[in-house]
C-alpha cells in the first residue's frame, strides 16, 4: 500500500456553505471565487493533514469585468484573504466551483496562471501555514497546496468530504490490490465500495468486549489500515466476552492489542496494523491520522476527551457502550447500551444529551470505586455490529441516507435497538465544537 502524503479534510457543513455561495450568479462574472481558511499538521512519518475550517465570501463589487476568464477579483478581495490569515492564524485556499464537472475536476490553464500568484500573496503573509487552491466539482474536488519550505504548489493526494456519507476524491491513485472476488457477496454496497473500504484508516480505541468484535468485523469487511489503542492486558475476567482471547492469553498476560492484531491478521494477513499499547493520549498523533475512530471506552470522561480530539482533527467518532443497572426496587437488572456518531459540524455527545456535566460529576464522585462493571458478549456484539453498519454506510453511502445523525439506544432486556427519542428534539448544528475551532488551537492574548 502506498502511504498517502497530503490529505485535505473538508467538513460537509462547510462545503455546503461554499457551494451555496459559489453557485450564485454574478452580474458579469461567469463563476465565483471564495477563500477557505486552513490549519495543517505534518507528522513524523511525513504525512500532512490539512483541515479546512472557515469560509469567506467575496463581495460582488470585488469582481473585475474581464470576459477572458471565468472570474477575476481585485486586490481588495485578496486583502480579505490575507487578513483572514493573520486574524485566524491560519492558511488560506482560493476556491472555485466547476458546476458541470461530473468526474474529478481539473484546474484550467487560466487557473495555473492566475491562482498561484494569489497563493504566493497568501504565503508571503505567513510562510508557516498551508496555502493553496481548490476546485470543487459536482462529484469530487481537486487541490494543490504550498506547504512551508516548498517554493511551489504540489498536488494533494486525497480530499475527504467529512460528512454522512464521506466523499473521497482520490487525486493520487488509490490502492486497488484487493481481491474483489473475496468481497463478491458485499458488492451490493456499491461499485466503488471495496475501493473505499480498502483506502480508509480506522482507529479502534479500547479492544475489550466491544472493540474486539469491531476489530474482527472490520477485518472481514476488508479494512486494511488500522491503529489499535489499548494499554490493557487480557485477564480472566475478559474471557467471557473478548473475541479472539483464550485462556493462554490471560495466563501469559498478553496485550489486548496483540490479540486484536492476531484476529485481524488471521482474516486479512495483508492488513497494516499500528499498535499503541498505551492510552491514546500517550500517542495522540497516531489517532489524529485516522479517518474514522470507533471508541469502546468505558467512561464519560474518556468519551469527552476522545470526542474533543476527534472534533479538532475532523474525525468522525462512533461510540459504543453498555451498562447494567441494578435498581434496588426492580426485580431484575436492566441492560442498556448506545451507539452514537459524533460527526464534525453536527450534534456532539453534549448536544445529544448523552454527555452532561451531571453524569461527568457523578462519575468523578465514584472515582476509585472498586470492582469491574458487568459486561456480556452478546450485547457487545449487537452494539459493535450496529457500529460497523454505520461505519460501512459512512464510507460507502450504500443506503442513500444523507446527513444522518446517529444515536441508537439499546434495551438489552427486550433485545431492542432503536433510535433514541432525543433525536426528535436535537438541533442539527453543534454549538460546542464549531468547525472554525478545529486544528491547532488559537489562543487569544487577553
Amino acid at each position: 500500500m502506498k502511504d498517502i502524503d497530503i490529505i485535505i479534510k473538508l467538513p460537509s457543513v462547510l462545503l455546503n456553505q461554499i457551494k451555496k455561495d459559489l453557485i450564485r450568479p454574478h452580474e458579469f462574472a461567469s463563476e465565483r471565487i471564495g477563500f477557505i481558511n486552513s490549519k495543517f499538521k505534518t507528522f513524523e512519518n511525513g504525512k500532512t493533514i490539512i483541515l479546512l475550517n472557515d469560509y469567506h465570501v467575496i463581495d460582488d463589487d470585488c469582481y473585475i469585468d474581464d470576459s477572458s476568464v471565468g472570474a477575476r477579483i481585485n486586490s481588495e478581495a485578496i486583502r480579505l484573504g490575507m487578513q483572514s490569515i493573520i486574524i485566524n492564524e491560519s492558511g488560506c485556499f482560493h476556491v472555485h466551483y466547476h458546476e458541470f464537472s461530473m468526474e474529478l475536476p481539473e484546474f484550467s490553464n487560466t487557473d495555473f496562471v492566475d491562482n498561484p500568484e494569489i497563493v504566493n500573496s497568501f504565503s508571503n503573509v505567513d510562510k508557516n501555514q498551508a496555502h493553496g487552491m481548490i476546485v470543487i466539482g459536482n462529484n469530487g474536488m481537486n487541490a494543490q497546496v504550498k506547504l512551508p519550505g516548498f517554493d511551489k504548489l504540489v498536488k494533494v493526494d486525497r480530499i475527504i468530504e467529512i460528512g454522512y456519507p464521506f466523499n473521497l476524491s482520490f487525486i493520487s491513485p488509490a490502492y486497488t490490490g484487493f481481491d474483489l472476488k473475496k468481497y463478491d457477496r458485499q458488492s451490493f454496497l456499491g461499485e466503488n465500495a471495496q475501493l473505499l473500504i480498502s483506502n480508509v484508516k480506522i482507529g479502534i480505541v479500547g479492544l475489550g468486549g466491544g472493540g474486539s468484535h469491531i476489530a474482527q468485523q472490520l477485518a472481514y469487511l476488508g479494512i486494511l489500515d488500522y491503529v489499535l489503542f489499548d494499554s490493557d492486558i487480557v485477564d480472566n475476567t475478559n474471557l467471557n466476552r473478548m473475541i479472539g482471547a483464550g485462556q493462554s492469553d490471560a495466563d501469559n498476560k498478553v496485550l489486548k492489542v496483540d490479540v486484536a492484531e492476531r484476529v485481524i491478521k488471521y482474516v486479512l494477513p495483508e492488513a497494516k496494523i499500528e499498535k499503541v499499547c498505551d492510552k491514546w493520549q500517550a500517542n495522540p498523533e497516531k489517532l489524529q491520522q485516522c479517518d474514522i475512530i470507533i471508541g469502546g471506552v468505558d467512561s464519560f470522561l474518556g468519551r469527552n476527551d476522545l470526542e474533543a480530539e476527534c472534533r479538532r482533527y475532523l474525525i468522525p467518532l462512533i461510540d459504543i457502550g453498555m451498562d447494567i443497572y441494578n435498581d434496588y426496587e426492580a426485580e431484575n437488572p436492566s441492560m442498556v447500551g448506545q451507539v452514537l456518531l459524533s460527526m464534525p459540524g453536527y450534534p456532539c455527545f453534549k448536544c445529544l444529551g448523552f454527555l452532561t456535566e451531571d453524569n461527568l460529576a457523578k462519575e468523578a464522585a465514584k472515582y476509585g470505586a472498586a470492582g469491574g462493571k458487568p459486561q456480556v458478549v452478546w450485547s457487545n456484539g449487537i452494539l459493535a455490529s450496529n457500529a460497523i453498519g454505520i461505519l460501512v454506510d459512512l464510507i460507502t453511502g450504500w443506503t442513500g441516507q444523507k446527513d444522518k445523525i446517529v444515536y441508537n439506544s439499546y434495551d438489552g432486556n427486550i433485545g431492542n435497538l432503536s433510535e433514541h427519542v432525543r433525536l426528535k428534539y436535537v438541533k442539527k448544528e453543534c454549538l460546542h465544537y464549531p468547525i472554525k475551532e478545529c486544528g491547532t488551537p488559537y489562543f487569544r492574548k487577553l
Binding site: 492510552k279 493520549q281 495522540p284 464519560f300 470522561l301 469527552n304 476527551d305 470526542e307 474533543a308 480530539e309 472534533r311 479538532r312 456532539c348 453534549k350 456535566e357 461527568l360 460529576a361 457523578k362 462519575e363 468523578a364 464522585a365 472515582y367 476509585g368 454549538l431 460546542h432 465544537y433 475551532e437 491547532t440 488551537p441 488559537y442 489562543f443 487569544r444 492574548k445 487577553l446
Partner: protein, 112 residues
C-alpha cells in the same frame, strides 16, 4: 466567554501572559509559566484554568505535568484539552470567588 470585565482585567494584571481559548463549549485560560507555591518542583509550569464545570468538577486547574514537593495529592485528571495533555488533582474550591481568587484557591492545594 462571559466573565465580568473587571475580573478579566484583574486576571491580566496578575498573570500578564494569560491567553484564552474555547473547546467543547468551555472557556480555558492558559497561564504560561504559572508560579507554583514554595517547595514545588519545578517552581513554574504552564497551567490551564477552566473556571466553570468541566469533566465532573465545578472548576479545574490543570498543569502541563505532575509535580513534586507539595503535599501528596490525588492526581486523577489526565486530559487532552486544546491539543495538549494536561494533569490535575482531585480538588474542589468555593466557586463564589473572582477568577484570580479561584486560581489561588486551586493552588492552595499545593501549599505545605
Amino acid at each position: 466567554m462571559d466573565f465580568p470585565n473587571e475580573q478579566i482585567e484583574e486576571l491580566k494584571k496578575i498573570y500578564p501572559g494569560v491567553q484564552v481559548a474555547e473547546e467543547g463549549g468551555n472557556t480555558f485560560f492558559l497561564l504560561p509559566k504559572l508560579e507554583l507555591p514554595n517547595g514545588c518542583n519545578p517552581s513554574k509550569l504552564d497551567a490551564l484554568f477552566c473556571p466553570t464545570r468541566y469533566n465532573g468538577y465545578p472548576s479545574r486547574l490543570y498543569f502541563e505535568q505532575k509535580f513534586s514537593g507539595a503535599p501528596a495529592r490525588n492526581w486523577n485528571g489526565n486530559s487532552r484539552i486544546l491539543d495538549r495533555s494536561w494533569y490535575a488533582i482531585s480538588w474542589t474550591i468555593n466557586q463564589d470567588q473572582r477568577l484570580v481568587q479561584m486560581i489561588r484557591s486551586h493552588l492552595d492545594a499545593f501549599r505545605i
